[in-house]
């Protein structure tokens, strides 16, 4: 059992989820209530990671963040480090890859708030910020929590993108999924099996939690 790989996966998942919470709230809220030109196009673009093979996405990200790219050079000159084959590069790739997993549940969460309730909040004299913190966030909360858990669990199990962008550097980019693959390649089925079982259990528990939350949320406001 490669505990450092498991710890790295948890760290990556935590960072990804933490970064995606504000991004998802802002984008999910806009997509839930605003209508603008090209909205469908943007929604399609944000949903792409759901259907693209992770290797394809990883390939583009590798090119976009590599030493020869504008983004890669900018990052290098600002922080003196490379974006590819590093942990920070993994986080960036993971955030991009998880956009739909974060945005969609949050968008559904905001969409579920009836217009009358938001109008009523404005008519009650609540400022826009107060409406957001006191009315919208608590009501969209099940969606936000689902997004966090989905993103977290999904990042834990991510393989293709990590392999393309991060490679397999221990303590830097070697996540548990990569470690499992390594063990299989090295004819070590015992460890591969153990790590797979841990990942399976962890994923099941988190997904079950998402369903529990959404069922509870539905009952509470019925």
């Amino acid at each position: 059992m490669d505990w450092s790989a498991f710890a790295l996966s948890l760290k990556l998942a935590a960072w990804t989820a933490a970064i995606l919470v504000p991004i998802g709230i802002v984008l999910g809220r806009v997509l839930a209530w605003r209508y603008f030109k090209g909205k469908s196009l943007i929604e399609a673009l944000l949903a792409l990671p759901l259907v693209l093979p992770p290797t394809v996405l990883g390939f583009y990200l590798l090119n976009a963040m590599g030493g020869n790219s504008a983004i890669g050079r900018l990052y290098q000159s600002l922080l003196g480090d490379s974006l590819v084959f590093t942990f920070s590069g993994l986080v960036v790739a993971s955030v991009v890859f998880n956009l739909p997993f974060a945005i969609q549940p949050m968008q559904r969460g905001f969409e579920a708030i009836p217009d009358d309730i938001r109008d009523a909040a404005a008519c009650c004299g609540l400022s826009r910020w107060r409406i957001f913190t006191r009315i919208e966030l608590p009501l969209a909360w099940p969606g936000i929590l689902s997004a966090v858990i989905l993103t977290f669990a999904h990042t834990l199990g991510e393989f293709g993108v990590v392999l393309m962008v991060g490679g397999s550097i221990p303590d830097e980019t070697k996540t548990i999924a990569i470690a499992i693959y390594d063990r299989v390649q090295a004819f070590d089925p015992a460890n591969a099996g153990l790590m797979s079982a841990v990942l399976l259990g962890f994923s099941f528990v988190s997904i079950a939690f998402v369903y529990l939350l959404s069922n509870r949320g539905r009952r509470r406001h019925a």
């Binding site: 009836p114 009358d116 309730i117 109008d119 009523a120 909040a121 404005a122 008519c123 009650c124 004299g125 609540l126 400022s127 107060r130 006191r134 009315i135 608590p138 009501l139 509470r220 406001h221 019925a222």
Partner: protein, 373 residues
């Protein structure tokens, strides 16, 4: 009170006043303050308009208790006073003891009261109610209407209520405004609008049954009365010299101004516009019985009236019976015939291009005018 059929613009008008809908042009002022004016480019957010709004679906915050729903709206009150004030407001709408309940744990009527308490919490300059009784059952509705009628006397603020229920309008309103397809057709005290509609369209919208067509025969300023011809009868009506001699007019008589002649013993009042017909509908409704007769047996001239049920029984009324009635001259109201609605609007002082709603009570007023778009 704004009255009109679905799609007439009642709710849009209310939402415009609240700042939830932006009209293309016009102005909204309240108590001297301008809330909206396209010329001056003023458009205050709902938060900055002194309003209380009760939504058709109430719009209560589902995750907060009744008390918290009200407290949330008390942003202008010092925080240590909010709890007491919220409890006061809930008591005002008879919700003592239910403060801790969430909306889902309240009945429809209780939710409506919570929404009303919340709307009052801002001490608004105007209270806006969007079909506030449409989502509750009949019994609860009557009760809430009586409570609102009572509450209105305690509150020193104008109330604008949207409804399509005419009984509600008659019961609760000082003034009603009839809307149709975004236009104001008539405004005035409910008794006046219902007895003296400006046009046949208004008569139809306020559900007046007895609308007929006739011709002006002559005006008698000395009497004073106006004579019209109808179905071979010459009817005396209230003196209404604004109609030209010989002009076609629509006329209406509210059901309560149609009097049944006693069959056993004729009396003096029966010389007033006597009309004969055959009863084609006879519907007992408890104390009163709704009677419809075809005048001179003509299908197109159905006249409705309400007769106390004991009178109906004593006179042996029933389907197919021949009866005579008197049409009280004072109750006959003339309107331009259907094709001439526009001239009637101008005569009535309602500008075809703009409409305004004034609501005066307790020193504040709300006015709105908007150009038709």
């Amino acid at each position: 009170m704004l009255v009109g059929p679905s799609g007439s613009g009642k709710t849009t008008l209310l939402r415009s006043i609240a700042g939830l809908y932006r009209p293309r042009a016009g102005a909204i002022t309240c108590d001297g303050a301008t809330w909206f004016d396209t010329r001056q480019k003023i458009d205050l957010a709902p938060q900055r308009r002194s309003i209380g709004f009760v939504f058709q679906s109430y719009g209560l915050f589902p995750h907060l208790s009744a008390l918290e729903n009200v407290k949330t709206t008390l942003g202008h009150v010092a925080s240590e006073r909010r709890d007491a004030r919220a409890r006061e407001l809930l008591a005002l709408v008879h919700l003592e003891g239910l403060e801790a309940r969430r909306p889902a744990e309240l009945s429809g009527g209780q939710q409506q009261r919570t929404a009303l308490a919340r709307a009052l919490a801002r001490d608004p300059a105007v209270l806006l109610l969007d079909e506030p009784f449409s989502a509750v059952d009949q019994v609860t509705r009557r009760k809430l209407q009586r409570e609102l009628a009572q509450l209105r006397r305690q509150l020193d603020m104008p109330i604008i209520l949207v409804t399509h229920d005419l009984n509600e309008a008659r019961m609760l309103a000082d003034r009603i405004c009839i809307l149709h397809q975004g236009d104001t057709l008539q405004m005035g005290p409910p008794e006046e609008v219902m007895a003296r509609p400006l046009t046949p369209m208004v008569a139809r919208l306020v559900d007046l049954p007895n609308v007929f067509e006739g011709k002006i025969v002559e005006h008698r300023p000395d009497a004073p009365l106006t004579l019209i011809s109808w179905l071979g009868y010459t009817l005396e009506t209230r003196y209404q010299p604004e109609f030209l001699r010989g002009a076609s007019v629509n006329w209406v008589i509210p059901a309560e101004n149609v009097l049944l002649h006693r069959r056993d013993r004729p009396s003096r009042g029966e010389r007033e516009n006597p009309v004969a017909g055959i009863i084609t509908e006879y519907v007992p409704l408890g104390e009163h019985t709704s009677v419809t007769l075809h005048v001179r047996g003509e299908r197109d001239h159905a006249m409705s009236m309400m007769v106390p049920s004991h009178v109906a029984r004593r006179n042996g009324l029933g389907h197919g019976e021949h009866v005579k009635v008197s049409l009280l001259a004072e109750g006959i109201h003339l309107m331009p015939s259907a094709g001439q609605d526009r001239s009637a609007l101008e005569r009535g002082g309602v500008d075809g291009n703009a409409y305004k709603i004034y609501y005066d009570k307790g020193g504040s007023s709300v006015a709105r005018s908007a150009r038709k778009t």
